[in-house]
Amino acid sequence: MKQEEIETLVKQLNVRLTAEMYDRTLTDTLEAQQIQKKKSAARRPNLWRFIMESKITRYSAAAVVALAMALILLDPFGTSDSGHIVWAQVAQNMDKVQMFVHKELRFYYELGKDEPFLKTNVIKHACPKYGVVEEQYTTEGDLMHRAYVLGEARQIVAVVPKIKKYFKVPMTDTMAQLTDLLTPRGLVEHFMAIKHKDLGASQIDGHKVEGFEAIDTELWPIHDAFNFLFPVKQISWRFWIDVESSLPVRAEYEIITDRGLFTEMKKLKIVCKAYAFEYHQEAQEELFDPNIPDDYTELNLTDLMPVKAGLVGLGIVPAGFIIWKRRRRKKSTESRK
């Protein structure tokens, strides 16, 4: 018998479970989970009280809501359970927001290098009802891409003017399911579960703010779908929340990637600084309608070979968390006072 045959045979080893064992173990497992949940509930009887008793956790909750919206990972498609009171004032404030806009500076570094090889300006619109759309520009003002994550259409669309290409990626059921799971409550629990620290009080644009920082290595299963293109290894977040309004006024996140097709097979560090947040109580539907010129053709895999694609793809693939819309073309200069 050859080695390959033995290996095949080992793979076929299988145990036929008795129904009794199967049912008993499953029942005991589910019971153990229930008991554990009750114990946890006893330790933390009321999430709302837990959050609201502490200024830090209260702001963290706001920060999570804001970031998730910023990253498209907060139910942008209308699955928010607004019946919960756990969000208290912070949540109420956020619930009123139908659309928010912010600008962003993005710096792309090859890991280990001090100087960024690319700087871009981004504008992003996010809306719970329609989705998220972003535009990324070079510092000279040339549009690099316009990308959409469209909830109702269950589609991710990106338009790349430089090469007159576009692509459409359907959101799989799994991805859609993920967006359903990312409720505010779930996100708060996630944020609470990872290590985060208070950066203390500060002043930004004349507002008294409080900052928070977290490093997340287990975040967002959605990334795996894009792993061969844009393998995210870690995200560090920093937020500054306006003490008075309980709304974010500044956010920074740093993404460390592994080698991927869209990173030109380099390990990257991408530093993003979001600022100039504006909160609106009405959404502009027309902003979320993909506008693909007639002469653009669909992007395919050969277009994405590193040499050919260059930096075209950079920033598009993480559409699951970085999608932006330029609304007004302004030279952006960030200033944290």
Partner: protein
């Protein structure tokens, strides 16, 4: 289209989603994890212990502990590998405390895929029985490597980390194990 529709790593993705939901208290997610991996884990445990009832007890305990661990769970690799290592650690403890002598993998529980048809299945079953006996004769560490690599799909590097030995040691164990299995099976076939 940049990503083929069939190209989404949905298996891994499904596991991540299951973990996500499980950590947030979903009974359905836990049930799905159980349904997905219980047979593999009992097979692994049985192959290592040569004792089905103890193997079932271990998998039972592993799932109960797993259910209680939702709050502390920090999963870096695959869920399947995580559960496999969980089981292997328990098996090792059992082996250490009981110092069981290997007898043979319970033949009544060994089976191969029925999808291959009844005739082939019968032949296969005989081969598997021989394999079970041969496996039982392997040193424990070699058996662990063979099962985790071939049955669990784990890389040698992952196994080395789990066993706290070098990757060369793992590869050697695998090579020796396969050689012994081949020798045992071929001598059985000559009888």
């Amino acid at each position: 289209m940049i990503v083929p529709k069939s190209g989404w790593p949905d298996v891994e993705m499904e596991d991540k989603l299951l973990i996500w939901r499980f950590k947030r208290g979903s009974g359905d997610a836990l049930r799905r994890i159980y349904e997905k991996y219980v047979v593999y884990l009992v097979t692994l445990s049985t192959a290592l212990l040569n004792d089905v009832s103890t193997a079932e007890d271990i998998v039972h305990d592993v799932f109960v502990s797993f259910a209680q661990s939702a709050g502390q769970l920090r999963l870096e690799g695959s869920l399947k590998a995580y559960l496999a290592i969980y089981v292997v650690n328990r098996v090792r403890d059992t082996v250490r405390t009981r110092r069981r002598q290997p007898s043979s993998l319970d033949e009544a529980y060994s089976t191969c895929s029925t999808a291959r048809g009844p005739e082939l299945s019968a032949v296969c079953s005989e081969e598997l029985q021989q394999l079970s006996k041969a496996m039982a004769q392997l040193p424990y560490e070699q058996k662990e490597v063979v099962m985790l690599h071939l049955h669990g799909g784990m890389m040698f590097k992952q196994i080395a980390k789990a066993q706290n030995v070098s990757i060369n040691t793992v590869q050697s164990r695998y090579r020796y194990a396969l050689e012994k299995l081949r020798s045992s099976l071929n001598s059985e076939m000559r009888k």
